[in-house]
C-alpha cells in the first residue's frame, strides 16, 4: 500500500497526468476544507481548490516525494488563498455563515458580531490567515506555522498583531472588548 502511494508520488513528480488525477481525487476534499476555513465561501473555495491543484501541477518537478504531498498541498493552498484575499476589498459581501452564527454568548449582539467580522476583514491578509487558523479554527501553532511557511514564533507574533489591530479597530467603533 505504501509502495503504491510512493509510486504515485514519484510518477506525479515526473509529470504523469494519471498520477496527478489520483492525487487530486485523494486530496481535493482536504484542500477544499483547508481553503474553506480561510476564505469561508464555498464557491470561492472550489475555485481556489482548482487553482491550488493547477499550481501543484505546474510545480510537479520541484515536488519532493520524501516530504509527502499533504503538507506541500496545504502550503500551496494557503498561498493561493492569501493571493485571493489580497485582491478582495474588506467591504465585499460577508459570507452567508457570518450572517447568522450560533450565539453561545447572548451578551454578544448580532451587531457586535457583524462589526467584529468586518473589522477582521480589514486586517492585512497575512495576519488574517494566521488569526483565523489559530484563533477561530484553534489549530496547533506548529500546523499554522507549517501552512504559512514560517516559524512557530513568527506565526504567534502574527496572531498577536492581528488581535491587537482588531482590538484597536473595535475600540474606534466604540466597542470595548
Amino acid at each position: 500500500m505504501q509502495n503504491e502511494a510512493s509510486s504515485v508520488l514519484n510518477e506525479f513528480q515526473q509529470g504523469d497526468l494519471n498520477a496527478f488525477e489520483t492525487l487530486f481525487r485523494m486530496h481535493q476534499r482536504a484542500v477544499y476544507g483547508w481553503i474553506l476555513r480561510i476564505v469561508r465561501n464555498p464557491a470561492t473555495a472550489e475555485d481556489l481548490t482548482v487553482e491550488t491543484f493547477w499550481r501543484i501541477h505546474r510545480a510537479h518537478a520541484r515536488f519532493d516525494p520524501l516530504h509527502g504531498f499533504e503538507g506541500w498541498s496545504r502550503r500551496v493552498a494557503t498561498h493561493a488563498a492569501l493571493d485571493w484575499l489580497r485582491t478582495k476589498r474588506p467591504e465585499d459581501e460577508l459570507p452567508a455563515d457570518i450572517a447568522a452564527p450560533p450565539c453561545a454568548d447572548p451578551a454578544i449582539s448580532a451587531e457586535i458580531r457583524c462589526k467584529t467580522a468586518l473589522a477582521f476583514q480589514r486586517l492585512p491578509p497575512k495576519l488574517r490567515i494566521a488569526a483565523i487558523l489559530s484563533v477561530v479554527e484553534e489549530l496547533p501553532g506548529k500546523e499554522v506555522a507549517e501552512a504559512l511557511g514560517i516559524s512557530v514564533a513568527a506565526a504567534k507574533l502574527r496572531v498577536f498583531r492581528a488581535l491587537r489591530l482588531l482590538r484597536k479597530d473595535l475600540q474606534q467603533q466604540g466597542i470595548t472588548p
Binding site: 481525487r25 491543484f53 457570518i98 458580531r113 467584529t116 484563533v135 488581535l163
Partner: protein, 74 residues
C-alpha cells in the same frame, strides 16, 4: 494588551466567525474544471507590463543612482 483583553477578542472572533465543520466537501466534482484549467492556454502578459519593464530598465540604464531607491521601495 493583557491576557483578559486577548481572551475577550478571541471570544468575539469565535462568535463572529464560527469554525468550519471538518466534513466540508465540494458540492461538485472539481476534476472536469481541473482538466479545463490544464487545457487552457497561458495568457501572455499584457502590453502594459512589458512597457513598465522597459521603462524600469531604461530608468536603471540612464539613472543608475535610482537603482538603490527602487530596491528600497520594492
Amino acid at each position: 494588551m493583557n491576557a483578559h483583553d486577548e481572551d475577550r477578542i478571541k471570544q468575539l472572533l469565535q462568535q463572529a466567525l464560527p469554525p468550519i465543520e471538518d466534513d466540508a466537501e465540494p458540492e461538485r466534482d472539481l476534476w472536469p474544471a481541473m482538466l479545463q484549467r490544464l487545457d487552457a492556454k497561458p495568457t501572455p502578459p499584457p502590453w502594459f507590463d512589458w512597457a513598465l519593464l522597459a521603462g524600469l530598465v531604461g530608468l536603471a540604464a540612464f539613472f543608475p543612482a535610482s537603482i538603490p531607491v527602487f530596491l528600497y521601495y520594492l
